[in-house]
C-alpha cells in the first residue's frame, strides 16, 4: 500500500487541497522532501490564485489527480538552502512559478526554454522525479530546486508580485518573443483579467500604445484611468471594431472562453501577430483569407523559461509594476473560486498564506 501524503517525506507540511472534481478545498496534511543539495526551502507568505488552479481543481482538462494542492504563483522567505545552492541564502525573498523541474539536457532546456521541455514538471498535480506527487503553493512551505526559484527584489511587494510568477511571465514572454515590445508599436490586449491587466502594465512600461479589447463596456474607465491603456474597444461593437481595422502590430489574447478570431485578425496591420495565451477548450475557426491577405500570424505561448521569468520580475520591480490584487484569508478560498468563475475580481486573488494558513493538528 502506498505511503500517505503525510508520510511520503520527512518534513511535515500543511495546506488546502481538493479531494475530487467538485474542486472544493479543505485543510490537508502532507509532507515536503528534505532540502536536497540543490534545493531551496522557503516559508510561503503569499500565493496567487490563477484561473488554471480552478480548471485543475475541477478537472476541466482531464489531467487532475486528487488530492490536489494548487498554487503556482508562490512567494516567500528562504528558511534553508542545500549545500550546493549558490544563488540564494536564508532570509532572501523568493518565488516559484509554474514549474519545478525539467530535463536539463534537451535543446529547449539548453535554450532557457524549460517551459517547452517535454519532461517539464509542473509545480502541482504531477509526478516529480522521485515518483511523488507535486503539491503547490496553497501551503505553508515549499522546497524547490534552485534552478526554478526566482529572486524577488526588495522593492517589489510580495503580495502584488506573486501573480507575476504565472500571469506576468505568461504575457511578458510573448511581448518580447514576438517583438511587440518596441516603443511606438500598438498592441491590443484581449480580456481584462489577471493576465490582461498585467499585459497592459507591461506594454505601457515598454513604451507601447495599448488598446484593451473587451466584451464589457463597464471596464473602460478602469482600463484607461487606472491601468493607463490608450483606448478601449468593445468587441461586440461592430462600428468600433471596424474603425480600428488594421491598426495593431500585435494582440495578446488572454481570453480562455471560446470566442471568434476573425474580428481580432481584422484589427491587425499587415504582418500583424495574434498571440493566444488563454486556452479555450474548443478549437475556434481559423479564417484563412484574412491571414493570407495580410501575411498575419496566429501563434501560441505558454508561460516562459526561468531566465526570462527572472528578467520579467526585475523589469517589474524597476518599473514599479505589480498585480492589482484582492488579498484573502485561506478560508475564503472556495468563495474566491466561485467569484473567479464569474470573473468577479480586480484582478487576482492572492491568499495571505503567512498570516492565515495555520495547521490544525486535530485534522
Amino acid at each position: 500500500m502506498g505511503e500517505s501524503a503525510e508520510q511520503m517525506h520527512p518534513k511535515k507540511a500543511f495546506g488546502w487541497a481538493a479531494r475530487d472534481s467538485s474542486g472544493v478545498l479543505s485543510p490537508f496534511n502532507f509532507s515536503r522532501r528534505a532540502t536536497g543539495e540543490k534545493d531551496v526551502a522557503f516559508k510561503v507568505m503569499y500565493c496567487g490564485i490563477c484561473h488554471s488552479d480552478l480548471h485543475m481543481l475541477k478537472n476541466e482538462w482531464g489531467t487532475s489527480t486528487y488530492p490536489l494542492v494548487p498554487g503556482h504563483e508562490i512567494v516567500g522567505v528562504v528558511t534553508e538552502v542545500g549545500s550546493k545552492v549558490q544563488k540564494f541564502k536564508v532570509g532572501d525573498k523568493v518565488g516559484v512559478g509554474c514549474m519545478v523541474g525539467s530535463c536539463h539536457s534537451c535543446d529547449n532546456c539548453a535554450n532557457n526554454l524549460e517551459n517547452y521541455c517535454p519532461k517539464m514538471v509542473l509545480t502541482y498535480g504531477v509526478k516529480y522525479y522521485d515518483g511523488t506527487t507535486t503539491y503547490g503553493g496553497y501551503s505553508d512551505k515549499m522546497v524547490a530546486d534552485e534552478h526554478f526559484v526566482v529572486r524577488i527584489p526588495d522593492n517589489l511587494r510580495l503580495d502584488g508580485g506573486a501573480p507575476l510568477l504565472c500571469a506576468g511571465i505568461t504575457v511578458y514572454s510573448p511581448l518580447k518573443y514576438f517583438g511587440l515590445d518596441k516603443p511606438g508599436m500598438h498592441v491590443g490586449v484581449v480580456g481584462l483579467g489577471g493576465l490582461g491587466h498585467v499585459a497592459v502594465k507591461f506594454a505601457k512600461a515598454m513604451g507601447v500604445k495599448v488598446s484593451v479589447i473587451s466584451t464589457s463596456p463597464n471596464k473602460k474607465e478602469e482600463a484607461i484611468e487606472h491601468l493607463g491603456a490608450d483606448s478601449f474597444l468593445v468587441s461586440r461593437n461592430q462600428d468600433e471594431m471596424q474603425a480600428a481595422t488594421s491598426t495593431l502590430d500585435g494582440i495578446i489574447d488572454t481570453v480562455s472562453a471560446p470566442h471568434p478570431l476573425l474580428p481580432l485578425i481584422g484589427l491587425l496591420k499587415t504582418n500583424g501577430k495574434l498571440v493566444l495565451v488563454g486556452a479555450p477548450d474548443k478549437p475556434p475557426e481559423l479564417p484563412i483569407f484574412p491571414l493570407l491577405m495580410g501575411r498575419k500570424i496566429v501563434a501560441g505561448s505558454a508561460i516562459g523559461g526561468m531566465k526570462e521569468t527572472q528578467e520579467m520580475i526585475n523589469f517589474a520591480a524597476k518599473h514599479n509594476i505589480s498585480a492589482d490584487i484582492e488579498v484573502i484569508p485561506i478560508d475564503y478560498v472556495n468563495t474566491a473560486m466561485e467569484r473567479l468563475l464569474k470573473a468577479d475580481v480586480k484582478y487576482r486573488f492572492v491568499i495571505d498564506i503567512g498570516n492565515t494558513l495555520k495547521s490544525t493538528s486535530s485534522i
Binding site: 535543446d107 529547449n108 526554454l113 517547452y116 517535454p118 518573443y177 478570431l261 476573425l262 499587415t270 504582418n271 501577430k273 493566444l276 495565451v277 486556452a279 479555450p280 478549437p283 475556434p284 475557426e285 481559423l286 479564417p287 484563412i288 483569407f289 484574412p290 491571414l291 493570407l292 491577405m293 495580410g294 501575411r295 498575419k296 500570424i297 496566429v298 501563434a299 501560441g300 505561448s301 505558454a302
Partner: protein, 374 residues
C-alpha cells in the same frame, strides 16, 4: 451604357473566358488599353494554369465577375513600350504574375510589398484604375505597367518557368520571410501539387532537409526520386505521424482543400512555424493546445512583391529550378481543368498560348455566332 469588353479599349485582344460558374472556358473577343507611357505590351507565349484560375472560373470564392479570363503565370515577348519605360525593350522575354498595379504610395508599396497594398489590382477579375475589368493570361496580348513586369532570366525555359510567377513566388516569399531557409533545418511540404513540388525544389536549394507530407502514398517515389525530397510522410497514417512528431522546424501548407491542422502542428518542433498558402473555401479549425504548448505559429502569405518575385526568378535560374509541366493547347483547357480538380497533373498545366491560341482565332467568330444563335 457600359461598353462591351470588345469596345472598351483600342487594341483588339482574344482569349478564352468563363461565362458562368460552370467554369467552362470558351473563345472570347475583348480588348486591351493602348500602350501608355509606363506600359509594356506583351505578346503572350505561355500561361500556367493555377488552381486559383479554377476556383475563380467556378466562383468558388464567391467574388467572380463574368466573363472572366483567368491566368496569372504569364510569359511572353515585349512588342511595344511606352515613352517612360526604362526597364524593358522590344523583344525582351518577360513575365507577369498575380498583380498588375497597386497604389505606389502606401508603406507596403514602398517596402516592395505591393501584394499587401490595400489597393493592389489583380491580373484578372479585378477593376483597373479606369474602372474596366482586368483580364488574365489565357489570351494573346496583355498591357502592363513596367513596374509590375518581371524580366525573365536568360537561361530559364519560358514554358517551365511560367508557373514560378505564382506558384514559385507563393512558396519562396514565406520561406524567406518566415526564415524557413536555414541550411540543415527540416522543412515539411504539405501537398504535392503545383505549389508543393516547387517548394520541394526551392527547399532543397536552400540546403534544407525536406519531407513531403501527403495523403497519397503513390506520390512517394516521385517525391523522392524525381523531386529530391529526403522523405515522405503519409499524413493519414497515425503511426507514421506519431513517429515524426516534433521533428520539423517548418511546414509549408499548400493544400487547397479544407483539412485538419492538428497532425501538421504536431509534426513541428517547439517554436515551429506552419505557413499556409493554400486557400480553402471554408475556414479551418484552429487547434489551440499544440499552438500554445509549443509556441508554434500559423502564418499566412499571399504571393509576393515585385522585387522579391524578380529575386525568386533569378534564384531559380541560378539553381536550375523550373516547374514540372504538362504543356497543353488552349482548346484542351476545359479537360485540363477537370483533371486539375482531381489533382491529376504532374504538376502544372501550361497553355502553349503562342502556338495554339491564334489557331483557334478563325473559328472564334463562328463559335460566337453559333453561341448567340442557340
Amino acid at each position: 451604357m457600359a461598353k462591351s469588353p470588345e469596345e472598351e479599349h483600342p487594341q483588339k485582344a482574344f482569349g478564352w473566358a468563363a461565362r458562368d460558374n460552370s467554369g467552362t472556358l470558351s473563345p472570347f473577343n475583348f480588348s486591351r488599353r493602348d500602350t501608355g507611357e509606363d506600359d509594356v505590351t506583351i505578346k503572350i507565349l505561355y500561361c500556367g494554369v493555377c488552381h486559383s484560375d479554377l476556383h475563380t472560373a467556378k466562383n468558388e470564392w464567391g467574388v467572380t465577375s463574368y466573363p472572366v479570363v483567368p491566368g496569372h503565370e504569364i510569359v511572353g515577348a515585349v512588342t511595344a513600350v511606352g515613352n517612360n519605360v526604362n526597364k524593358f525593350k522590344v523583344g525582351d522575354k518577360v513575365g507577369v504574375g498575380v498583380m498588375v498595379d497597386s497604389c505606389k504610395k502606401c508603406n507596403s508599396c514602398h517596402e516592395g510589398l505591393e501584394n499587401y497594398c490595400p489597393q493592389m489590382i489583380l491580373t484578372y477579375n479585378s477593376f483597373s484604375r479606369d474602372g474596366t475589368r482586368t483580364y488574365g493570361g489565357y489570351s494573346d496580348i496583355v498591357v502592363v505597367d513596367q513596374n509590375y513586369v518581371l524580366r525573365f532570366p536568360e537561361n530559364m525555359p519560358l514554358d517551365a518557368g511560367a508557373p514560378l510567377l505564382c506558384a514559385g513566388i507563393t512558396v519562396y516569399s514565406p520561406m524567406v520571410y518566415y526564415g524557413m531557409n536555414q541550411p540543415g533545418k527540416h522543412l515539411g511540404v504539405a501537398g504535392l501539387g503545383g505549389l508543393g513540388h516547387v517548394a520541394v525544389k526551392i527547399g532543397k536549394a536552400f540546403g534544407l532537409k525536406v519531407t513531403v507530407i501527403s495523403t497519397s502514398p503513390k506520390k512517394e517515389n516521385e517525391a523522392i526520386d524525381r523531386l529530391g525530397a529526403d522523405s515522405f510522410l503519409v499524413s493519414t497514417d497515425p503511426a507514421k505521424v506519431k513517429a515524426a512528431m516534433g521533428t520539423m522546424d517548418y511546414i509549408i501548407d499548400t493544400i487547397a482543400a479544407v483539412h485538419p491542422l492538428t497532425p501538421l502542428l504536431c509534426l513541428l518542433n517547439v517554436n515551429g512555424k506552419l505557413v499556409t498558402v493554400g486557400l480553402p473555401e471554408k475556414p479551418l479549425e484552429l487547434p489551440i493546445f499544440p499552438l500554445v504548448m509549443g509556441r508554434r505559429l500559423i502564418g499566412g502569405s499571399n504571393f509576393g512583391g515585385i522585387k522579391e518575385t524578380q529575386e525568386m526568378l533569378d534564384f531559380c535560374a541560378k539553381h536550375n529550378i523550373t516547374a514540372d509541366i504538362e504543356l497543353i493547347r488552349i482548346d484542351e483547357i476545359n479537360k485540363a481543368m477537370e483533371r486539375l480538380a482531381k489533382s491529376d497533373v504532374r504538376y502544372r498545366f501550361v497553355i502553349d498560348v503562342g502556338n495554339s491560341l491564334s489557331k483557334v482565332d478563325q473559328n472564334a467568330q463562328a463559335s460566337r455566332l453559333f453561341y448567340f444563335a442557340t
